[in-house]
Symmetry: C2
Amino acid sequence: MKVKTFNDLFVDMIKDLYSAETQLTKALPKMAKKATTPELRKGFEQHLQETIQQRERLERVAEILEVSPKGKKCAAMEGLVEEAEEMISEFKEPQVLDAALIAAAQKVEHYEIASYGTVITFAKMLENSEEIVNLLKETIQEEKDTDAKLTEVAEGIVNEKAAHVSA
Amino acid sequence: MKVKTFNDLFVDMIKDLYSAETQLTKALPKMAKKATTPELRKGFEQHLQETIQQRERLERVAEILEVSPKGKKCAAMEGLVEEAEEMISEFKEPQVLDAALIAAAQKVEHYEIASYGTVITFAKMLENSEEIVNLLKETIQEEKDTDAKLTEVAEGIVNEKAAHVSA
């Protein structure tokens, strides 16, 4: 068996992220549809557009690396999406569901922040990787901004209303 | 069907974290065993001890809430642990595996940081929740410290060595 190198690990993580973003492009429309708070719905819709671009950036990274971005299934994102779906089926009260959707989305963003953080660190160690590093940095900044916006919507609007729903 | 409230969502997330920490107490010993870099192995062993305490804190939170911490399976942590196991089976070269283990562990820490971040925000909105907030804050600080330590080991020791492994 061929020894798998650091470069292979990097490619592996890019494929993992590509699978994660692809899964998200399918989950976000459902989350947007279920969101009641207009700011939250708009946020999910906007992040869907970003996610589509982030997926394209990974395609460009794969092209530079001369590999396919496909071929891996991100098990963690499968679990995260499963959790979001559980939330949707369990919490029917709109404001509480919005709070649950934000919680699920923030877990997703943190997964991506951790993963892009690692691949950026790895990419910096590879030769001729400036374009790759820049593409990945654009994305991680969007993920951090999305996480911050979700906190804003949670703390500024949703949680207060959700906490006043009585059984 | 009873309407599920914000309080139910909070309990749900505590149970989810309890399942996550429980799964981690089983995964961390395997990760420590596979780690080659002494600082990393020690880090995993130390975090195992913290994870055991974090699990106990969640038991205390559940006791205050007068619920059982059990009864939920954290699907996201299942996926994260599955990813770590995939890494172990795919990357055999010790330094590259160490880099992979750090990547997997940082995803775990970020999952927990996101999740504890949310439950702390929720807990602050509940009545008489001071002890709960303090318990959860102790844990989130440990998770953030662990994440920072992993970055230190990656950037200071592991990645440089891993990048020089040739195929």
